[in-house]
Symmetry: D4
Subunit: 167 residues, 8 copies
């Protein structure tokens, strides 16, 4: 397992699933679990302090509200941690999750992505692995090319029809 | 020691000092220490999981930026935790500290006071002890009376001079 | 009655009910009432100034918009006051309620919990009582253990199924 | 005395002075006092419930942070209340003061002016009196004309010099 | 007509209707019209500069988004102007409307009420008239008493049933 | 083609359509395309660096979230660029789009309109063309007159019915 | 005069001067004046309704706080209006100015630039003129090239010295 | 060179220097340059599209205001990009920089750190390299241990002196 995906609550799974999906698409192995900073702090400690000894290279952590999971994991592991702020029902429009994750103090960074952007967390994990693995780097290049082609396809569709009809 | 005062960094001491001062004024014993959620997580774990076994009844925790200390302490102790959001230099005007502390998930509350309001954290600790200790309750009543008298004194000063001169 | 739960309006009851429910679960006696700072200020004064003489040890107050109830109660009682910011229909996404409750001036703290987090207000009340009552403290420890077990159960479910199926 | 000017703390006087100054300029009688919602709640009650019986027609109330004074006065008096949000040192850039004053619930309005705008509070008080008093209304018209002339004077100065020199 | 109610757009009528309703309840005469600062500026000028000559004593103006109507009316009339920030579809959650109305410069106040609070605008207009009209002042006192009785009724209902059933 | 309308994603078309519609109404020729700063950066470069050589006089660019398209186009063209912040599903209530577009550094302005206000972007483009083209200027004057007449019609409707019935 | 630069107050001149300076650099004629929406509304009306008849092609308007000048000018002129939000002393960190200017309703756009970015307002005015004037367009291209060269010069300086020394 | 550090302006160097300093401390080679998305877009394109071919594994990009540099670099490179939001003089308290960098659309992540936190950007780069390089991973572990020891030293100092004296 190269990537560990964790989230603070079962209710975060619909958001965090996209990180798993994109890693699967890149053929990158991962494990997925629920680890709560506030309700299972001992499990979080064990998870974070042992991950790098088990071959995990990157941890993706998603949480909402006063989102402490990514930052606490970052405090306990030497690995890079990617944080996904989740706009959960107990969040103030995502502002609390975002600030709780991104505003980490000196010494303990969390690589924060956009609110609810767990797919981007998976892509960033792939890019991190790709930075020292040519095979994955190539896949990123292919993936970015597909993004481009999708936009070009939409552009062609738009221009070949009247804008009115497109809607 | 009835109250434990902790803070995430040495630089928080000028703010957190006011909690100690007011507890001293109420003759409530306390200890004070620096415990960082992000830089000394093991110490934080030990502190939080043992505090109630050492006679501590309330923990006051201050932190800035992505302020995880109060919430993580609350995750680890059965005691009430009072959180002080600190508007430190690495904070976005205190919004990050405030939201990181107050927006805790169901099951793990932090009793949050105003930004930089460590004196109020000390008063709240006294009120918590006073809720089951008549002597302290009486001191709170006296303290509130003094607050009233200070305002009344200022009111008399203002009215006995021309407003212009007062400035 | 150890805890008084009050709210500014009948419409706050669906939110504030959770405070009552969790106190019941902890076998802590409480009373519940509607007391409006703005529409029944005299009743609020009487409630707040007499609560500690009637055996109440903690007051939980919820309000929305320009939420003055928790702070005014805190001004009038020596007891600890827990404030619940309510994201009511006449609130700007809860920001007004939160700031009106948490940003209290020196001398008059309100123990503020997250927006709409009345369950946490009840748990905090239990923790406050538990700080000087071993029986309640034990119940808090058991409660926190249940939180942990719920997360562990969810974790097992997630790992024993494919993430896809879990959704 | 037609207007009562009150403020939550002695430290609000430098801001609130401008309300007194402009009323003096309009020859409108006023009284000025310090009345704290949180530290002298009984005095606030008495002030607010008796003001209309003493001939006061409008109350101007300034406060900072979780600013409850204007709203609580409005709860207790049938008179119009003008609220001045003060950006005090214990305020989050004035946002807390502004929201605590303006977002009042149905039934209990506060006529809110801009942050720190106590001069405007005084002008608004004059306009309110002027709405049923021709002499004051005339003064408002003259005052507005002076505002216009000041701008016209500045405009002439600017155009008669090179912009560079003006700076 | 003592009160002029105006709004920037036909779509503001469902919100502004409440101002009319409460004035009717207080037997205060009013007129209601659509006047847009941005689309009918000349009409706005004429309305604002002549209102006080036609016996109008107070103007209530509601607008959304970059809400310039209340402030421009205030620039053009010596009468007190009450501003209602409207959370319209082209508003950023009401923040733009609120700030565009309340943050007026020195010399030109707008008496701002809460977002969408047109009922409160009507009550404030009544209070302004009541400040120099005993009959209306009495009606305000009666109205506030009814507010109190409604809360007391709700309080009785709550206490006479189990909270569970109340929901 | 005098105006180029571009947008970052196919999903922005329902919003951006209004810019096309209003230009059609003003008989101003335009082209419309999907150009993504992040997914088709080369296309964006080519589009922006060649537009002024193909007779395009104004570029309207709409984008959501971290909206870089308008600012990057502005970096690459000497033409005026109008930016439309889009409140897309991956936006924090439009705040991110607005700030990403309007807060451009010295030297590289973007003419920013309101969130989702693509119709206004089209009108602004017409006004820019109209500033040196009398025929278009006349159309703007007619258009503004129609805005006025629509408000006047609504005003008549409102005054000729009881407000109650109007709703 | 091709461009009219106006501002709400004399105190805005230090900010607005940069618009004049850059227009001078582009050899574009302009006039500059103080026109207050709130204090000289009649002058504003006259200015806005006559500007296009006097040969002015673009109006740049700067204002702070509840900044109504740019939007009201836009309501009254068929010309394009560029708005500069000013972070004046009576502004809440520029948020009020920005939202009051950018969030204009359908039909009446203001081309908004960044907070205090009056230089960019001047550049945008030049770009608007340049969109139908090759000479000015060429100057914009030269100007952008100078921006590039300044950055390249700074880049060379940085790389030719140790970063440490550079500071 | 393993890491490329770039920034939008010479004025960002005092902030971005800390990224260079920490990389030096970890013996990780890096290059540093000024690359402006808005003023040198071609250079940015070349830099971003060639970096991975020159052996660079990670790009750190800092920018303020409408900060497009990190996101545009991310659009053009398959490498992981770390974004540093800079609270520059033309920024609204850092909110614009933060949102412009973190809120990237699906497909193009930027690993965002806290406002002005360029040291953390350097540490994150080291962690990314360390995730596949044991030597660097060991250095991270040592570094984190030093962070811990610094806090422990401060803790000892605090406890061995009276808190009063410490200040």
């Amino acid at each position: 397992m190269k990537v560990g995906i964790i989230m603070g609550s079962k209710s975060d799974l619909p958001i965090m699933q996209a990180a798993a999906d994109i890693l699967k698409q890149f053929d990158i192995t991962f494990e997925i679990d629920i680890v709560s900073a506030h309700r299972t702090p001992q499990k979080m400690f064990e998870y974070a302090t042992t991950a790098h000894t088990k071959g995990i290279q990157i941890i993706i952590a998603g949480a909402g509200g006063a989102a402490h999971l990514p930052g606490m994991i970052a405090a306990l592991t030497p690995l890079p941690v990617i944080g996904v702020p989740i706009k959960s029902s107990n969040s103030i429009d995502g502002w609390d999750s975002l600030l709780s994750i991104v505003q980490m103090p000196n010494g303990v960074p969390v690589a924060t992505v956009a609110v609810n952007a767990s797919q981007n967390a998976g892509i960033l994990a792939a890019q991190i692995l790709g930075s020292s693995d040519k095979t994955i780097l190539e896949k990123i290049i292919v993936f970015k090319n597909e993004l481009k082609q999708n936009v070009e396809k939409a552009s062609e569709d738009l221009r070949s029809t009247s804008p009115k009809k497109y809607l």
